[in-house]
Amino acid sequence: SAMPEQYSRAVDWLSRYGYLPPPDPRTSKLQTKEGIEKAIRVMQRFGGVRETGVLDGETLKLMSTPRCSLPDIVGGEDMLKKRRRRRR
């Protein structure tokens, strides 16, 4: 099972690639356990590994695989929108 540090890094990874909504510094909102499990499942399905909902070895290995830095799930937080907000 994942160590706390790995877990924290994984949540950051999930946010960066669009599987979790980005943290909101104004509200310090916590991600729910169910939300994180669901995000891990989506990530596992997208990456073609066994869908367990937990940070198993296979999932952690995939998260450390070199990759493109665009998000996999492009929602309201895609790069262009972020850029426009940053400019404003």
Binding site: C68, P71, D78, L80
Partner: protein, 443 residues
């Protein structure tokens, strides 16, 4: 494939290179070779769609010059809001098409050790990553399909760049945006709008006859705990309850519309369970079994049930399975047939890859005291308790217990399928010749 929703509204595109890999990190890649690799990466896309790419002089890296797609090799913070992270991790990124200054820009992390061809240890094949990033610069998002160059993870060189061809998923994606080479432009009347995929042929919905498929009457052919949801199979249909206990629909779904791969006419499932080792789903139908990966049957199935090596005490081969489940108590798989059961350790496979019964089996179902000896099916649920289903009732053997006297039958309809509580009636007959009196359900 997935599209970003953005595309270039022209087919003649220009590109330029504004910086090259640092020679000390990528010694095998002089600028002329980088230009050649990138030219071939663009060609992969222009081979599949009516696009042309022309290189322009790059110059000093001005964002306002250099054509539509500006390529550069950058390190760490590079003034686009998306810093790179040194060697490994993120390799590159590109901006989708549009009218922004940054649209089409394609950045490669200069801390990577870029290479050309081969499988040199610790290097990253520039051609492979460039084809992927140019896909973004043309409007494609990440794809989960395999094979697809638009998968987000780097998986090594794609091979000979002179003869490289996009996978079908990628060809369909680029043709959706820009049309087919030598063929029609996409979008019909308005070429600026992406063309929608052709709808599948219409398939009339056959409404279920509620008089035939009443979940509240019970009598299920099979019950299975699959990915934490419970499926109740009856005839050619099934009901499904989610993890939180809610019923997905009051109406049953057709097995063949959800579980793909059964032959036409399959109208009864005998038993189902989800294999622990790889989450495959095993269906038993008559004297055959299927292995499903998710909702699709794997190739090579059905196979004969005889591969499981189950023989009755009489020596006859088992020709059907009544119930199947993995007992959470010990992780072993149990198959039941006509009053006898067999135990399997699925980590030990036989010659054909199917597990073989453990020694000492079959045993009589009567060993599971207090529950029906001829059950419809069994699942592990909750804290690992074994749930035995028969007609419209179920019995729970607490975790690890096989021999519990006081097992009260409960209503499947009420507890699992959102049925009204029935008026007081007599309880089902004690399944194994009662050891004691039984009261009705409400007493």
């Amino acid at each position: 494939y997935a599209l970003s929703g953005l595309k270039w509204h022209k087919s003649d595109l220009t590109w330029s290179v504004h910086s090259y890999p640092t020679p000390s990190r990528s010694p095998g890649l002089p600028s002329t070779m980088v230009d050649s690799i990138l030219t071939h990466a663009f060609k992969a896309w222009s081979d599949a769609a009516p696009l042309t790419f022309h290189q322009q002089p790059g110059g000093g890296g001005s964002a306002s010059s250099g054509g539509d797609i500006r390529v550069s090799f950058n390190s760490l913070l590079h003034d686009d809001g998306y810093p790179f992270d040194g060697l490994g991790g993120t390799l590159a990124h590109a901006f989708f098409p549009g009218r922004d200054d940054v649209s089409g820009d394609t950045h490669f992390d200069d801390h990577e050790r870029w290479s050309y061809g081969g499988e040199s240890s610790g290097t990253t094949d520039l051609f492979t990553v460039a084809v992927h990033e140019f896909g973004h610069a043309l409007g494609l998002s990440h794809s989960s399909s395999d094979p697809s160059i638009m998968r987000p993870y780097y998986q090594g060189p794609v091979g000979d760049i002179l003869h490289y061809q996009l996978a079908l998923d990628d060809r369909l994606a680029i043709q959706q945006l820009y049309g087919i080479k030598g063929g029609q432009q996409p979008g019909g009347v308005d070429p600026n709008l992406p063309r929608l995929p052709s709808p599948p042929p219409t398939k009339p919905t056959k409404p279920s006859d509620p008089s035939v498929h009443d979940r509240c009457h019970g009598g299920f052919d099979a019950v299975a705990n699959i990915r934490g949801e419970v499926f109740f199979f009856q005839g050619a249909h099934f009901w499904r309850t989610t993890r939180d206990g809610s019923l997905v629909s009051l109406n049953p779904a057709q097995i063949q519309n959800f579980w793909m791969g059964f032959p036409p006419g399959t109208n009864k499932i005998d038993a189902v369970y989800e294999r622990k080792s790889d989450s495959s789903i095993i269906f038993f139908v008559g004297s055959q079994y299927w292995v499903f990966k998710d909702t699709v049957a794997m190739s090579g199935y059905p196979r004969p049930l005889s591969e499981w090596g189950m023989k009755r005490k009489s020596g006859a081969l088992v020709d059907r399975v009544d119930a199947a489940f993995i007992w959470a108590h010990n992780g072993k798989t149990y198959l039941f047939s006509q009053g006898e059961f067999w135990r399997f350790d699925e980590s030990r496979k036989g010659q054909r890859g199917t597990p073989q019964p453990e020694p000492g089996y079959p045993r009589d179902n009567s060993l599971w005291t207090g529950v029906p000896s001829r059950m419809d099916d069994i699942i592990s649920w909750g804290e690992g308790d074994a749930h035995f289903f028969k007609d419209n009732h179920y019995w729970v053997l607490k975790s690890g217990g096989m021999n519990q006297d006081s097992v009260e039958p409960k209503s499947i309809g009420v507890d699992w399928l959102r049925c009204p509580v029935p008026p007081s009636t007599s309880a089902p007959a004690n399944p194994d010749g009662p050891r004691r009196c039984r009261c009705d359900l409400t007493d």
